[in-house]
Symmetry: C2
Subunit: 139 residues, 2 copies
DNA sequence: ATAAATGCAAATGCTTTGCATTGCC
DNA sequence: GGCAATGCAAAGCATTTGCATTTAT
């Protein structure tokens, strides 16, 4: 799967560096990481990898269409995906979780679709995640 | 309508000042303004109104449940509304437009709704607004 | 060879905070 | 009168930029 993404990046004229591969692997491993989380993890294996490179790379990946960026209340979160899909966002801890797209149907008026020609559709449910609700119960 | 909102703010223990009324009126008048846009407009009629007060007030209004804040790519946009509703967001100019909720239906699996108990649902269509498409055609 | 990617330091820009003053209820 | 709101200056923090160096293709 990562190989396919690397190929796509190269096909579009992007270059692969150790830094970029490391960031790509982290994007596959972590769950909707922030730029800082990516930096922290890379720092372990790759101390010279800079924050600037994390940002440059994420921006580049985004333009190449291999990742999504979600602008959450707290900060941006990233995801290895070509299209946005529905998410649950916790109002307390700020975590982001994928939702099964099969369990949510969005029906749009045809005239609206033609008129606006949306490039993509973003949907968030906001609430309190299980972990946060569990901790709330204890107190 | 503004009177009703003022009443709600007071009922919840908030106080009304000239600054707050001015900001409230601007929220009613402007279309999804940013904090800066609000500040610019208030500055005309009310030069002493500070940026801090704009931010304080928006934060307070949000906690009191009279406005919504949308975290867009460019910056936050605000809206006089108790609940979020569907929007169209322009990928070029960053403008935000209300969508007729009647033209978009979101159907959620019952089990999902019970499990997550979402507080609210946010939906964005991303694309290019009419103005931006028109300008694009000219070039 | 050349155009892209890296990484440092510095800058930017939005937003928040501390705190003394003001003013609503 | 008491507590919330104001507004100034300063700080905070995520993200971006300039630029010289390195490196993939």
């Amino acid at each position: 799967m990562i190989d396919r993404i690397i190929q796509k990046i190269k096909d579009k004229g992007g270059r692969m560096t150790i830094q970029r591969v490391t960031i790509l692997e982290l994007l596959a491993k972590l769950d909707h990481p922030t730029a800082e989380e990516i930096f922290q993890y890379t720092h372990d294996r790759f101390p010279s990898l800079s924050f600037t490179t994390v940002y440059n790379t994420l921006k580049s990946f985004k333009q190449l269409g291999v990742i999504q960026e979600y602008y959450m209340e707290e900060r941006s979160r990233f995801e290895l995906s070509e299209k946005p899909h529905p998410h649950f966002h916790c109002l307390q801890c700020g975590c982001l979780n994928d939702l099964d797209p099969g369990k949510i149907t969005i029906i749009m008026d045809e005239t609206l679709e033609e008129e606006l020609a949306p490039v993509d559709v973003e949907l968030f449910l906001h609430g309190f995640c299980q972990d946060c609700r569990r901790n709330e119960d204890k107190s």
